[in-house]
Symmetry: D2
Subunit: 354 residues, 4 copies
């Protein structure tokens, strides 16, 4: 590799590194001994910040990654004979290799959506068999905020889903791997579209927005977490040197770092989007509300672009590709990329039209 420049692209926000302020915090907590497994002052401090953000009745447990946050959070509020209902495009349905089924033992039921967002009417299909022992009991509705399709639920939409869930004795889970991008997009506090909207369990992510590792399982009603310490340990997710996860969250919330980083990546996605819609022959398939842009491109154009700026195919059948921006994406990269796209598309269209 000649330079870091060559590997930058639009593949995923987790291809970026760690923000310097988070790195500095790791250095600053690295002295002396502290007790392991979370009995240290940094973890205490980070937990306090979470309670300030999400409300006093919040219990937060740090784990290593987003898959674990989702799987263990769901395990914490389900029995193996329950079901979790989610969008077909959600991470727990598509990208966790069946970890919910393996660990929670639950059935995961999905519904098709156009934009990654659930609505109550979509859920009706799975709302039956309550109390009937032959049927997995509907127990959790799981939304992703921002969604895997780059869209964002409004606080009202979340509230409607939460009310619906609660009216049926169910709970609302939120996969917040990109929750910062959603908050910035909505111009809301985290609390407005989580605790205040009725969310019960939240996976609060940071790795895609400048952290190194470590996610937070937040029980927004503390009573739901009564046995979670055992679930985390048996789930292989209790970090011995916990201070280094806590430290990252301390830095993440200090001086609104999370907000600055997510604002930047969302803004980069908007610039990317504005450039792309002006290019003939490229179709954007989803509203751009967070830090992802979904486009339909001729595969030959895509593969030429991917050599310089890597990005992933999303849906082969319709030649859909996903472009993710991140906290360290630069306007120059976007200008260069879209210029290239423009040239390649124009070449492509010329050839086709001859």
């Amino acid at each position: 590799m000649n330079s870091e420049r060559e590997v930058k692209g639009f593949a995923s926000d987790n291809n970026s590194g760690v923000h310097p302020e988070i790195m500095n915090q790791l250095l600053s907590v690295n002295s002396g001994h502290v007790l392991g497994y979370g009995s240290d002052i940094y973890t205490e401090e980070a937990e306090k910040i979470f309670r300030q953000i999400f409300g006093k009745d919040t219990k937060v447990y740090f784990v290593f990654n987003g898959t674990a946050a989702n799987v263990l959070g769901i395990t914490g509020v389900t029995n193996s004979w329950d079901s979790v209902i989610t969008a077909f495009t959600s991470h727990i349905e598509q990208d966790e290799c069946g970890a919910v089924e393996k660990f929670a033992g639950c059935k995961v039921l999905s519904v098709d959506t156009s934009d990654g967002k659930l609505t109550t009417s979509m859920l009706e299909k799975h709302m039956h068999g309550f109390g009937f022992e032959h049927h997995s009991q509907p127990k959790v509705i799981s939304v992703t905020q921002a969604t895997e399709m780059g869209t964002v639920y409004s606080p009202e939409e979340i509230k409607e889903l939460a009310d619906y869930a609660h009216s049926k004795g169910m709970l609302l889970h939120m996969d917040g791997a990109r929750i910062a991008n959603a908050a910035v997009s909505l111009g809301c506090s985290f609390r407005e579209f989580t605790t205040d909207a009725g969310v019960d369990v939240l996976s609060f992510g940071g790795t895609k927005n400048g952290m190194m590792y470590g996610e937070a399982v937040c029980f927004l009603k503390a009573r739901l977490s009564s046995e979670f310490k055992y679930i985390r340990k048996q789930g292989m997710q209790l970090a011995s040197k916990m201070r280094f996860i806590a430290a990252q969250y301390i830095a993440y919330f200090k001086n609104n770092l999370w907000h600055n980083l997510a604002s930047h990546s969302n803004k980069m996605a908007q610039i990317l989007y504005q450039k792309i819609i002006k290019i003939d022959g490229v179709k954007v398939t989803q509203p751009v509300q967070a830090n992802g842009v979904f486009v339909i491109l001729p595969p030959e154009v895509a593969s030429r672009l991917q050599k310089k700026y890597f990005f992933y195919t999303w849906n082969e059948t319709i030649n859909e590709y996903r472009l993710m921006t991140s906290w360290d994406t630069t306007p120059e990269e976007i200008f260069d990329f879209t210029e290239l796209l423009k040239q390649e598309m124009s070449k492509f269209l010329r050839t086709k039209n001859v």
Copy 2:
């Protein structure tokens, strides 16, 4: 907390922080984008180092922590109807909250030992029912090196266990959470008491010896790992920003950092041991071969000492306590601690003898 000094103690080697050279490596890989989930040049480099150390037929997979390394490594080579045989004091029996049973589905069978070390004759008790569907099939023998009791297997002892396992169609698993301390203690290369001695699967730890997080599941016969990538992902242990685990191992092996750190902590344990055996009324219960010293103390003495230098009770019934040294333990701390112990013991004995 007035100063970091106050929280230093002998509780656990994981109460220490991260060695500066490892921190520096984290900084040095933190630029630009790299693909996530291990498809990056740092992971490639770290994997190469592991092959150099353990042999060409090694396949290494990084995970977040030691529990996961043990549980997933064992899952990789067992069916749910198999059993794993280990020492009663082993981490998988006592300290992983049943994670092997939950995730691998296996039965864990234990045997009592005096020093945490298995011998083939101890295993006979569980060697029956092969091919008999009513009985869990004995499949894995699991040893810890260095053991939870601060003792170390010789390469010959490992080889005997491996040969025994293989003669029965079983495999030998090693929990190497403190493998560096064992290597230093033996004056051996890692390979001499692992690959060359017949170990099949190894959890290679670093967190207790100066790393921040990240352990390595090493299949010393590559064919055993054919489906492990799915097990790691479904096991919630596939890191997105993998480069930061890989980087730590790169630094760990550079200039024999691992050796220097483990030598230091072993040496500190020897000094501690030498001081302690000279103190009247204190009994050391285990050979000191790595970085742990097990002592029997009057509880009132222990509790007074724990206020200044925290350490854990090991076995309440017999007033046994565990003292762990680490890469950052200083001779001054040991002198001060043992001086205090001497004074408290002398006070205690005086009171008793009146």
Copy 3:
């Protein structure tokens, strides 16, 4: 309960009792001692019959019930990181309380169908992510024959699904809880639409067609069953007095008992169907190919009928009800029931039309 008559109805074929010839066989094997767990001459004989029917390369394992046959058969050919694709209406998706997920650890993915039957084009939605560790690996396609909607796959349709599965490295599983009804409906031997059509694993049911208990997991390629004996035992499905399951199958196949019973129930369903379609205002929603008739009725009519002849609501949203016939359904019951239905419908329509 005044008389047995009062509880007869169209609720389910499992509401019927045991055919006298099967009862007699239970009596006839009940003398002396035989070894337990299947090492007896009756089990040997029953296994031989299965090999005669399904081919020499068949391995059959008896279990207690249909849920177990499906769940363990699927467990036998999957890893926990695999997925099973099935119809939304299938028993493993709707009626086994998540047992596949709990026991196999697998993801179960469903597709909507109009008649309970899968076609290859429906499956495309789930055919991605092969070899990609983030995604559950598509491994099994599971069909029900006859389906839960009373329809039947032709041998050609089965073959197309099997070829499709095999072309992708997948397997075809058949839930044959009502396989006898399907065979009679098709006028085929069992083998023509199972082994010969490429089915890999089959749950062969008998309880719904005159047996007391006991189902058979048939591996139609013996090599697929190499570790199944452990799965059955760990799956809590190894019967100690196995001879009594085997005996039932011996009687079931003797003198084509199975065929006579299924012919009868299919014929009763046809009579029921012919009567019903002549009644104004009742809609039959599915082709009647086995022993179930699905109808749309006014709920008040349904509830009046259910007092005399119990049957289940299938889909509340559209007032759909399921009527099942069984080996002991009599033409008189059908005449009486349909007469009643006719009267109630006519009353209902009169009231409505006033």
Copy 4:
């Protein structure tokens, strides 16, 4: 097989058939339709009998076999991070292929005993780590009554274990696969050594004492069973034609059939024991309190006897064999067998002494 006689032996009480009165009851309930899955009058009646026997606060759930009764009963009262403590010789430790670990996810911890019976002092070894998330939480003590070694706990011994369990927030589980033999041996009602002695969950067996199949999970405190209906269904143990399990229990309790059968087999064991102790060179290793006799024999003698009367090797290392009597063992068989044993032993001793 020329005659039934040839296969009779002392292998296991489950090698016997079904008692005629139980067969008759199966015939007598086999008419008309009843609802499936336990919503029938026979199940209602059987449940009522269980409440009469074990007390009003009893909830009983029928399952297919003893493994399921143990595994699901334990699952009903544990979380996956709990542990179950039992004798090394217990069925859940030795003979259920790890089903507790697989299905409940729990750790099973065992202790060595001389006679298959636990005492509170033996349990101390595992009584630690309460509330400590690293350690599986001790939750259930599981005893077998009568034990796998043919011994029987007194009501006082059971009570002591129950009190001990409850004092630690734990529960007492009883595997009653041979509970009838224990009751007869003690001359007690079932209730005296179960409900009244503090047992919380009981597997009530009948298959080894004249039934065909079907065991009962009895929660002796009804509140413990609140979610058990889902566990039974997801555990693949909900019988569709439940009336045939219920019917067997109805017959089993009618006219004290259970008592007559168990009295007989216990008596046969006593006769066997009295004959055997008079034979030179044969050692009986366990008190004979139920229907098993454990003996040490020269292997050549054993193998000659096994040709006529089959029985199992129990412990190869010490040439220990198990002889089980059952409800249909005859005094003639015992006379013949012991005569043979006497002859063979005498031949053996003569050869040895030459």
